[in-house]
Structure formats: C-alpha cells, structure tokens
Symmetry: C2
C-alpha cells in the first residue's frame, strides 16, 4: 500500500503515491483517505508536506474534506475549483476560433453517439430546454440553458472522458457561449433560428437517428461560427 518517502520534493511524492493508489484501484470513489496523522506515520514525512499534498488534491477537485470526518475521494467531478484546460488556454493566449474548432470536433461526433444511447429522462431535459428557447427573453438564463443543452448531450453520449474534457473547459464554454450568442443575436431574427436549431437537434436525438443528430449539430455550429466571424 504506502511506501515511506525518501526524496526531496516531498509533497509531490505524497501526491504520486495517492495517484498510484487510484490508478491501481486501491482507492476508489467515495473512499476515506487515512487521517493526516496516519499519513505522517505511513509515509514518514512532515505534517506540513502531508497538508500541502492534501490541499493540492482538494483544489484539483480529486478529494474533498468533510468537517470532522476527514478526506474523501470525491464522488463527482463537476464544479471543481480549478479548470486546467480553461486556465492553460488563457495563459497560452488561445483564441475563440480554437474553442469553436474543438466544439466542432467533439460535439458533432458526440451528438452521433448520444443518439444511440440517450434515455427518456435526458430527452425530457433537452425538450424542456428546447421549448424554453422558443419564448424566453432572459438572455442570461438562455446562456446557461444553452450550455446545459450541449452538456446534457455529452452526458447522454455516456463517455466519461468526453464529459471530463467538457467539464475541464466549462469556464471557457461559458465565456464562449455568452459572446457567441451576443454576436448572433445582433440580428433579432436569429433568436428564432437558434431556437429552431436546438429543436432540430433534440428531434434527431428523440428519433435516435445518429446521422441526423450529427448533421444538425454540425449545421448549428457552422451557423454559430459564421456569425462569430462576421461580427469580430
């Protein structure tokens, strides 16, 4: 299980050992980690190093600390404080075009997969959102719903890695959608167009028609990128 630690960058090694225990399956979702005191005993390192390592794992959203109970491997990985993909993208001076490109790559195929696997509950959620788009004038809320619509489809595709990728760029997606919708809705007619596009994506998913779902998603994203470019 644990091996006492010898080297210099101590907190890194503590993290590596915990990572390895996850990878080899010793630690699972929801498991409680040994206490700080126990970890000090097992790993033969200072309490400070243990705390640094645990804090880092908390920030990364891997473990959560529960008052009086200790540290646990998280059960769900949404809403982590730190989004590595978003932050690194900003640091590297990435451009909205690149987000568009990635959305086209991931979401067109994801819609294809989702059409096969989507369940009734997920279809209901999508329908509710698609219906709201027809009438809602609350743009702040519409931005949130727009994201929810696309993330629900990723969820329906049933691939953890895709969901994790989209969660790790959630902040970027918020900023992208807000800006894209603003540019598209400069022309009021487009309000209806966007609502119809979401409606057609939902319709294809309801029919479990993979080809139609990815075609409609592609049209929707092409429409979006056309308007972003026009209004830059």
């Amino acid at each position: 299980m644990f091996t006492p630690i010898k080297n210099t960058k101590v907190y890194e090694q503590v993290i590596e050992q915990i990572e390895n225990m996850i990878i080899d399956g010793t630690l699972k979702k929801g498991d409680r980690l040994p206490s700080e005191r126990e970890l000090v005993g097992h790993l033969k390192v200072s309490r400070t190093s243990i705390r640094e390592a645990l804090r880092a794992l908390q920030v990364m959203g891997l473990i959560e600390s529960r008052q009086g109970e200790g540290n646990f491997i998280r059960e769900n990985f949404e809403n982590t404080l730190f989004e590595p993909l978003s932050v690194m993208f900003m640091l590297q001076g990435g451009k909205p075009d690149e987000i568009m490109e990635v959305r086209k790559i991931i979401e067109v195929q994801t819609a294809n997969l989702a059409a096969e696997k989507i369940n009734e509950k997920q279809l209901e959620n999508l329908k509710r959102i698609a219906d709201t788009f027809k009438t809602s004038k609350n743009e702040e809320n519409n931005v949130k719903l727009d994201k929810k619509f696309h993330y629900e489809i990723a969820q329906a595709a049933g691939n953890f890695l895709i969901i994790n990728i989209l969660n790790a760029m959630s902040f970027l997606m918020d900023a992208f959608l807000k800006d894209a919708r603003r540019k598209i809705l400069v022309n009021k007619e487009n309000f209806k167009a966007l609502a119809e596009q979401h409606g057609r994506i939902y319709g294809a998913l309801k029919l479990h028609d993979s080809k139609m779902a990815s075609d409609e998603m592609k049209k929707h994203l092409d429409f979006t990128s056309k308007h972003i470019k026009k209004n830059m």
Copy 2:
C-alpha cells in the same frame, strides 16, 4: 490587482485570485509571482495559506518554483505531475473502449486540420518516426514513438486546446498504446501493417491532403479498435 481576503477557505481564494489575474491577462506566461512574503502582505492571510495555494498551483503544473528566484507562471505545460483527465477517468472506472472512442473523435479531425498547417520540421519528425517503425524491434521504444507520432500531429494542427486535452490524458494514452500494440502484435504480420498505416498517414500530411489524412487516420484507428475487441 490583489484584494485582501476575508473568508474561510483561504487557500482557495488565494488560488482564485491568481486564476483571475491569469484570466484577465494581468499575469502572463513566464511572469514572476510576488514572493510569499509579498503575497502575505497583499492578501492579509497566513503564510501557511499562501504556501498551500502555491503548492497546489505547482502540482497542477501552472507555476514552477526556481531555486532562489521565486515562483513563475510556467512557459510550457507538458509533463505536469498531475493529469486530471487520466486520474478522474480511472476513478470513474472508465474503459479502454472510451479512450478508443475519444481518440477517433479527436484524432481523425485533428489529422484533417494538421494536413493544412503542418510545417517542414514537423513532417521531418514524423518521417523519422515512420521510418523507424519499419525496422525497430524494440517494442518499448516503439510504444513511445507511436505516442510521439500522434502527439506531433496534434501539435501540427495548431490548436492549444487539443494539445492540452491530449497532454491531460497522456498517462492514459501510454497505457492504452502499450496494451493496444501488444494485442495487435500477437499476430506478427501486423507489425508491417502498423508501420504501413503510420507511413500512409505521414504521406497524406506531406501532400497536405486533409481528406486523405483523416481517412488514413480513421482506417488506422479502426484497425486498432478491431484488434483490441478481438483480443479482449
């Protein structure tokens, strides 16, 4: 710039402030962060909280500490200690099929983009790897080269987000490729087939033929997934 911190989860707020300074462009790649002592002064929190926050940012690969110089925003984001996508995938009990699915989604389109943008240096690197595959019997090395071949193509596509996504699942990719190649090479004939596939992908990129590049990538990945399923 900095705002003194009031609330309880102190280290999280320190990180949030640093994240925000990255997002609004105050902090850029290669910039030096204020010293621990300066941060204590600006943010009015304990040195322990500052250290916890900095450690977490180091582990996440966002900053690096240079002996005697302080903490800097990293210039490059390869080889970070922590790979969020890999670790969360393991925790959620993800399956190799899902990695295959994501590879098909991302890499087929990435090859398409790379064909437009690839430069001479990148083509040379790919050619060297493709040539090595024809003769090298060192399978441990071949696994590394296989990954390098695919990551070089992602690099050539010139989208930071795609590169970051692949880097954030680098460990998964290592494990996947090692296992996939082992299963494929149960049949010795396939050694030549794999080398030829990589050669044809290189050939399409050299011609800057996007359609051919994505078709060849798709064939290569379909071949891979067929053999993984057969030898499960």
